[in-house]
Amino acid sequence: MTTPFRMAAAAAMACALSLPALAETAPENTDPIVINAGELELPTAVPPPAHLDGAVPEIYSGWLFRDAATQVMQTDDFQNPGMIFVDQGITEWNTVEGAAEKSCASCHEDISVAMKGLRATTPKVNKDGVLWSVEDYVNDCRVNRMEAEALDWNGDRMKNLTAAISMQSRGMPVDVAIDGPAQPFWEQGKEMYYTRYGQLELSCSNCHEDHYGDWIRADHLSQGQTNGFPVYRLKDAGLVSQHNRFRGCVRDTRAETFAIGSDEFRALELYVASRGNGLPVEGVSVRH
């Protein structure tokens, strides 16, 4: 159990000389997400990875920052609206398409075996030295093995598939590599994370490192962890991909945003994932 608002109190004292507020606020509790009446427990607070070098005292699931009604939807797979899309993704997995007359399952067989762990370790650098997200692995197989068309990164079919793939890692800690061939991509993503883009001059860190737990109007700022993606977002009544969320955040700084599926967002995806190394993959989380 974390003491609520401990950081806020300390910061309030520090700010007594009327400096601007700079205060992250710890969640009121750090209960695990208990799924299907105890079938699975997902921790929501774990020690930060070493590379964060004390930037935050703990890393937290975005689940902790949502209201009780939203939280409870993720605790039961029949209540979690994202699970419908997981089922559709599994159907997609088994659907034969393309000139080679193959499905994903033709080569990979059982998704629960073949895809276990992929979501926890992506983005990662492929054998050709290119940083790939799950979406890239999917489309590589579709084009080169199935001889089918690539799926739209942000389209329903891709999101359904990535949801189904993500579920096979549910409970496994995020563990993306940041060294070796991944390092230059990771450095690029880190640079982006701390860059104040747009007319509002806001970086990811301004809100999600310095002010998680605080309120920006009616929204409770999280640490911006990505272990719950793809997310079922109540506001959109559908699945949201990581890159789509990034695009929206950068756009809302009154900036020229980056494209979904761009190299920049792959690099940012890697860096943000690495800030959550140790948090469990939540499969399909529910947020608002």
Partner: protein, 161 residues
């Protein structure tokens, strides 16, 4: 057609003269900040109107100050933010010149501040065209007009403990 134009032009001038009495404004690039970030001279010839400022303060499409700041007696505003400091008593803590500097470009007063600069039009990284996500061209329109800044400053100056 031309006859209408002749009659309309003087009428339009008269309307403009009544509505906007030649308010001289300081352009964003011409604003003079002192070493501590204050702005001594008003940005507009028309004195700030605190009532108008109170409206800009909560209006989502202009000031939207309430997204990040809270004021105890603004019970008309739901879900006030707390990213920025509370503004209760701001009029006691700051002079009008300091408030003007903070509202126009808070980073001149607090270099690390995350507060957007309300009266700055260039020097951005990937400046956008408002909230479209598309590229914008500098100079961008400032987030607030000179008069809106004067109005907000006048409002903040009324906030006494």
């Amino acid at each position: 057609m031309s006859r209408h134009a002749v009659f309309l032009a003087p009428a339009a001038l008269m309307v403009m003269a009544l509505a906007a009495p030649l308010a001289a404004e300081t352009a964003p690039q011409d604003v003079v900040f002192d070493d501590f970030g204050s702005i001594a001279e008003p940005l507009s010839d028309t004195a700030g109107n605190a009532e108008q400022g109170a409206v800009v303060y909560v209006d989502r499409s202009t000031g939207n100050c309430v997204a990040c700041h809270a004021i105890a007696d603004r019970t008309d505003a739901d879900f006030q933010g707390n990213i920025g400091p509370s503004l209760d008593g701001a009029g006691d803590r700051w002079t009008t010149e300091q408030l003007r500097g903070i509202v126009a470009d808070a980073k001149r007063t607090f270099p690390e501040s995350m507060m957007p600069s309300m009266y700055k039009t260039s020097g951005y990284i990937r400046p956008g065209d408002a909230f479209t996500g598309k590229a914008g061209t500098e100079p961008l329109p400032p987030l607030l007009t000179a008069q809106q800044i004067e109005d907000v400053v006048a409002y903040l100056a009324t906030l006494k403990e």
